[in-house]
């Protein structure tokens, strides 16, 4: 019989071209034309299958129908998607917690040298911010605001079931840089306590679970992915040129009020016009190659990949190189009852850290001086020398140790490199009992081993090492080890309309850290980090292996009734070796509830509503990573280096210092409440999530000032305060258009978080000004932590302005009414804004048109403020000349204030650093498949850090500390990408 018909889309009722139609069990088939029409001849009783990407496949037996109308419904696979959660996985529809799973193909496609970079701006309530622009830089990740003051605030990161050490090995700026982003299959972010509590003592800041790509059944597939990119500085700090500097000098000399600046001193200036920032930066090239082979050898799926990255930084000499190998084997035995998942990730990174001190000194170095002055003693570089008389600038004189160092010399005379090997291996065995298939037993073991070796050396002709002993040799090694064993059992059972899913288990993890360092001057006479043995020979400083052990019992119960009502109960009983035996075990419980409202009868008629789920959860989690000291509750002693010895008789004795400790130290506890709504209209046409949460952290760890005589420092890490984060998150994803040739997706996420300290001291004290934070100089702090305010609020003096709106130097509002020198009393300071954003917004979109695709990803941050430390610190005239004999450059913004002296605490320097950043824009072209459709190719062009909009006057508004003080600048990157699969 001949069947004719038309295929329509359930999305919009429009015709659907290109739908495959196949007679089942045969090779007989066709596709719909441009109008969605088709004609096919089938046997009587034959079944037709209609399939199209993004739609659920439909089958039917045509019975002499010649005018069929078939409506294909969009695939709602998203709901049955398997989401990895701690110690198991779940279908998305069965989750009661705030859990977000994303795949790298949906994420940022820029120069991503580390996994964190991919999450920038993509998930509501997850703020990812790279530390700076250096190659291989780390990033800070904050899930739902800052949950602590001095304890670790990073989320727990679990890679293929292995929780990683929060601290990178010495010599690596970013621990996650040893995971090749190209190998990542999914990121799952656990935000609320219902989801995280199963990680107990490590879960307070959220959890990110990363899984890597596994082999799939089928023929071997070979993929190549290569990127070539060019980075260049986006902006320079606007400072005075050599000519401007010289004319300012004559101006100030005439006024005669810069101490020490005499006509004679002015002769120390040079006649050059050096743009020091241009001297230290460069256009930098990066290449990145990844090759993978995946498939299955019979029942033995495998995936092997190799990656190579070589990234030059825009600051001269800086470089990051990584070679990575990732192997995943996932065989099954005993008819699938025994599943094995073995993985190994091996990386070797080589990093050249350069000398980032050059960033700041390029801003402040005198532009009238040349880079080179032919000095024979200092490698040809110009450096400030001590004046026997004011005018003499003997190129080979003794350097002024307090003067700014020649930025180019800092770079060229520094050899600061480290090499790190890391291997992470995991082996997971799942066994389903033959006689009780509802029960699955899992054993998961693994190791994570890193070993590093590095040095930071300066030659004897480096003038900037003169003060510390002429030349420097610094060798160090590091070793981090971690071992894991998880044993757990999972039981699933359906009883009528009830579904039960129970997991109970045990976990053991141990972390060991080791290392050594050896610092001496080139003449090997000064050992600033090392003790000496009885013969006076230096002993490399050993960082003693300080294991941290975590032992836990955990459990989770998922119960659902009629696929409508969901309950999740979880607990973890945790012990950490960081705390004393009397004070070690703690139970973290959580409960989560879910309700698929759309499945209720009263909504059954609303077909547009694919899903509507209300969630609520409450739970308690902890944070045990409270101090760098692995045993903060124990008395320990610190030995001195050879530069802090004491002389008895004619011998120098090392010293032993008792270290401060609190025997009763405890973990931080966070109680979190979350109410959320997941919705999905027209199967993905518009889907999203709204969450409202409150996180209350108590027993907050802080380093607080302690009474004199009570311990071995003036501050002690102890449990003192309470902190609260409240917020709301919204995520919207929409497929605006979906036709055969044209597809347009948009994703938007928004988050609002309010952070407030609610308690700080053990005792109430109305006069307590809070804890100082944010060091900007000698005993000078620009931030403050105080009850009732966000942490790290700026703590400043209120600037007085004249009638023209110009700040009046040194004149501040006497807020306390005490009179006297207003700037001399902290009582006159007030808390103004904080570096934390009030609102975060992310937007991303992707358009596919035929073989072309275009995507972008951007984000905005509102209500985050910055202290412009560069301007505050150097834009003052008195800074021009230091009476010990050197000049300092200053930002051109000096003309906005005309300040004479350093006004460190003026609120003038607190600037609104809200911004919108277009993180990347990418245009791609998919070449038509070649070699009988086997070879697929894609070429893309990407601009990373395309542009940003901000009112902030510095070069980049994104500084996570809130203090803009010469960070390694982020670069704009143009990248060409090539993907090949065969």
């Amino acid at each position: 019989q001949t069947v004719r018909g038309k295929v329509l889309s359930g999305d919009d009722g429009g015709a659907l071209p290109g739908v495959s139609i196949l007679e089942k069990g045969t090779t007989n088939g066709t596709v719909t034309d441009g109008e969605g029409n088709f004609t096919i001849v089938v046997k009587d009783g034959g079944t037709l299958s209609f399939s199209f990407v993004g739609y659920a496949t439909q089958e039917l037996q045509p019975a002499n129908q010649t005018n069929l109308t078939i409506t294909l419904l969009p695939d709602i696979k998203a709901l049955s998607e398997i989401v990895v959660v701690g110690y198991g996985s779940n279908q998305k529809k069965d989750l009661t917690g705030a859990v977000v799973a994303v795949k790298p193909e949906d994420l940022n496609k820029g120069v991503v040298s580390s996994p964190q970079d991919m999450l920038i701006g993509r998930i509501a309530g997850v703020q990812v911010s790279t530390t700076d622009g250096s190659p291989g830089a780390g990033a800070t990740i904050r899930i739902r605001g800052s949950g602590s003051i001095s304890a670790n605030q990073e989320p727990l990161i679990v890679v293929d079931g292995f929780p990683l050490d929060a601290n990178a090995v010495t010599g690596q700026s970013n621990g996650l840089a040893s995971i090749n982003p190209n190998d990542i299959e999914t990121f799952t972010v656990l935000k609320d306590a219902s989801a995280t509590a199963i990680y107990g003592l490590r879960a307070s800041n959220g959890v990110i679970i990363i899984t890597t790509k596994k082999g799939k059944e089928g023929k071997p597939q070979i993929a190549y992915n290569g990127n070539f990119s060019l980075s260049s500085p986006m902006k320079y700090v606007d400072v005075l040129s050599g000519d401007e500097m010289r004319s300012l000098t004559s101006e100030l000399l005439a006024r005669g009020d810069v101490p020490g600046l005499t006509a004679q001193a002015a002769e120390r200036q040079g006649d050059a016009n050096t743009d020091w920032q241009k001297e230290i930066y460069r256009k930098a090239f990066t290449q990145d190659h990844n090759v993978s082979v995946s498939g299955a050898f019979k029942n033995f799926p495998y995936r092997v990949s190799f990656g190579h990255t070589n990234q030059d930084g825009i600051l001269k000499t800086t470089n990051f190189q990584r070679n990575s190998l990732n192997v995943n084997l996932t065989p099954e035995f005993l008819d699938g009852d025994l599943k094995v998942s073995a993985s190994f990730k091996g990386t070797h990174t080589n990093q050249n850290f350069g000398n980032t001190g050059a960033v700041g000194s390029a801003v402040s170095f005198d532009p009238t001086q040349p880079v080179y002055n032919g000095s024979t003693r200092w490698g040809g570089f110009f450096s400030w020398v001590n004046p026997p008389s004011a005018t003499t600038m003997d190129p080979n004189g003794d350097p002024i140790s307090l003067a700014t160092s020649n930025p180019v010399a800092l770079l060229m005379q520094t050899d600061n490199r480290a090499s790190v090997y890391r291997g992470i291996g995991t082996l997971q065995i799942d066994y389903r009992l033959k006689f009780l298939p509802a029960l699955k037993l899992t054993a998961n073991g693994g190791f994570d081993y890193s070993s590093s070796k590095g040095h930071n050396n300066n030659p004897t002709n480096a003038a900037f090492t003169y003060a510390s002993g002429i030349g420097q040799l610094n060798d160090y090694t590091g070793e981090n080890k971690s071992k894991l064993l998880d044993l757990y059992a999972n039981y699933t059972k359906a009883i009528g309309k009830s579904n039960l899913d129970v997991t109970v288990g045990y976990s053991y993890q141990r972390f060991d850290r080791d290392g050594s360092s050896f610092i001496r001057n080139a003449a090997q006479t000064i050992f600033s980090d090392n003790s000496l043995d009885a013969e006076g020979n230096p002993i490399p400083r050993q960082y003693i292996s300080n294991p941290n052990v975590l032992i836990s019992f955990f459990g989770r119960l998922n119960y659902s009734f009629n696929e409508k009502y969901l309950v999740t109960l979880s607990f973890r009983d945790d012990a950490s070796s960081r705390f004393s035996k009397d004070n070690r075990w703690v139970v973290f419980p959580a409960v989560g509830l879910g309700w698929h409202i759309n499945k209720e009868a009263f909504l059954s008629g609303v077909s547009a509503l694919t899903d509507l789920k209300l969630r609520a959860s409450y739970g308690v989690t902890g944070q045990q990573d409270v101090s760098n000291n692995p045993y903060p509750y124990l008395s320990t002693y610190q030995s001195s280096s050879s530069t802090s010895q004491y002389q008895f008789g004619n011998a120098f004795t090392n010293t032993y210092r008792p270290q401060p400790y609190d025997a009763n130290l405890k973990w931080e506890t966070t109680a979190q409440t979350d109410i959320g709504l997941d919705f999905d209209f027209l199967a993905g046409k518009l889907s999203g999530t709204i969450d409202v949460y409150q996180r209350k952290t108590s027993n907050l760890i802080n380093s607080i000032p302690i009474p004199g005589g009570s311990n071995f420092s003036n501050v002690l890490v102890t449990n003192v305060g309470n902190l609260e984060n409240k917020g709301i998150e919204l995520t919207l994803n929409s497929t605006l258009v979906k036709t055969k040739n044209f597809k347009w997706n948009v994703g938007v996420n928004a988050a609002h978080n309010v952070n407030k300290v609610t308690k700080l001291l053990k005792t109430e004290d109305p006069n307590y000004q809070g804890v100082s934070a944010g060091a900007i100089g000698k005993q000078q702090y620009i931030q403050n932590i105080q009850v009732g305010y966000p942490i790290n609020s700026f703590f400043v003096l209120q600037q007085v302005y004249n009638s023209e709106g110009k700040p009046v130097e040194g004149l501040y509002v006497d807020r306390s009414g005490q009179g006297g020198v207003v700037s001399g009393s902290d009582d006159n300071k007030y808390r103004l804004h904080s570096p934390q954003a009030q609102y975060l917004l992310g937007i991303n979109s992707r358009v596919n048109y035929k073989q072309w695709d275009f995507s972008f990803s951007g984000r905005a941050s509102f209500g985050n403020y910055l202290y412009n430390g560069i301007q505050a610190g150097s834009a003052n005239y008195a800074n021009l000349y230091q009476s010990i004999g050197f000049f300092t450059n200053m930002p051109a913004a000096i003309r906005n204030t005309d300040f004479y002296t350093y006004q460190a605490f003026s609120d003038y320097y607190i600037e609104n650093a809200s911004f919108f950043k277009m993180d990347n824009m990418s245009l791609g072209y998919n070449v038509k498949p070649m070699l009988s459709d086997k070879l697929k190719a894609r070429v893309s062009l990407t601009v990373q850090n395309a542009f940003f909009i901000t009112k902030y006057s510095g070069i980049d508004p994104e500084v996570s500390t809130g203090i803009d003080n010469n960070i390694y600048p982020r670069a704009r990157v143009f990248m060409l990408g090539v993907n090949l699969t065969y």
């Binding site: 101490p259 026997p388 001195s640 004491y646 210092r657 000032p705 004290d765």
Partner: protein
Amino acid sequence: AYAYNTPADYKMGLAKLYASFVVAGQSGPGADPDISNLDIGFGIYLRGYWNLQELTTDEAVYSWTEDGTIHPLHWQTWTPTNTFIGALYTRVMLTVAYCNEFIRASAASTNTDVKMYHAEARFIRALAYSHALDLFGNPPFVTEADEPGSFFPKQTTRADLYAYIEKELTEIEEGLGEPKFEYGRADKAALWMLQAKLYLNAKVYSGTERNTECITALNKLLSRNAYTLSTEYRHNFVADNNTSPELIFTINHDAVHTQTYGGMAYIIHGEIGGNMNSADFGVSSGWAQNRVTPEFVAKFPDTSGDSDARAMFHTDGQKLEIDDVGTFTDGYAVTKFTNKTLAGGSAPSGGSIDFVDTDYPMFRLADAYLMYAEAVLRGGAGGSQSTALDYVNAIRTRAFGDDSGNINAGQLTLSFILDERARELYWEGHRRTDLIRYGLLTGGDYLWSWKGNTKAGAPTEAFRNLFPIPAFELAANPTLKQNDGYPGGE
């Protein structure tokens, strides 16, 4: 658990107690500091002690503004939030805490060496407490009985603390080494000096004169004949001053092994400025900080040093008068301390000239002579006027190079002694205590430039003879009461 197994381990613990006066922490000059949230230099014991003892008097004026709270030391307008008062307070109490730990750890040892270390630790604690007694009067009081933790130490009174230190010194006397048994170690002579100092100021501390006890302690010291005045005055202040026969107790510095930006490095770098050449002093640079007031200069017959060699001033390019506290060239500069050797050579350690080898002369024989003379004049028994006169003239003969500066019995008065102490011991950390003993630090009986925040000098309040308990300490320990006169005190 303590880190000590062998006597050598104990010695390293003991070394920390001494080092606490001079280094910032465990990795000099600045890394791994003992005190957090504080400038590395400010947090050093000797730098803080020197600032409070000298900047509050006619002996020193400081130029830099530092965080705005250093000039109030000259003006006697300091408040409980003063950084420098807070810095020293913190360091004194920390040193006490370190001593307590060592005293606990070494209490049970029967080893002869360790027993002596134990006595020395008690001496160091008594020394630190004597500073607390002198500067703060009523500090919190902790001993080896108080295990470290998070608690509120109870406040003591000045009289009780005085009695405690006196008792401690008496108890440990026998346990200490004989004079000069090892350079840098506190021996019996150091103890006698501390006792003498305590008794000489007993009226201030406890309300009762104890001049006889002062003389008793000094007689023990002087009768040993272990010390002699060095031939040259300046021998006590040079890079190799460890060779001076006059030094009784020093805080040791070394440019290689004991690197610090406080202590003598501060005093030497800080005295150099204007057109002085730092190379002449064996250091890398001048910090252009401290000078003297004209009132102090006036105590010398002339400023050249030709008559009295102790007048070690640099006047070229410097004004005598101080119009602006913040300008280094206002006020005569001082050349007393140097990192060159007595013979004019480079510092023996050969280390970086950012740091110095010159040891801090905490107690020296000339001070013992002058204390003896003062205690006799104040009516103490056990000494004689003629011996007192001999001692004073021994000092003056050295200063003048002959007997041209000698005085007669009639000239030996208490006020002469005070001035002589200034001439002999200036910039060695004694001046504030001396002026208080004479009732001249505060009030209007003696004015000098910028006292009371006017150029001519103005009277100040008597309660400023004691520093306040720092504001942060009152916040951290609400059981403490502020010293009288300050906000929160009576």
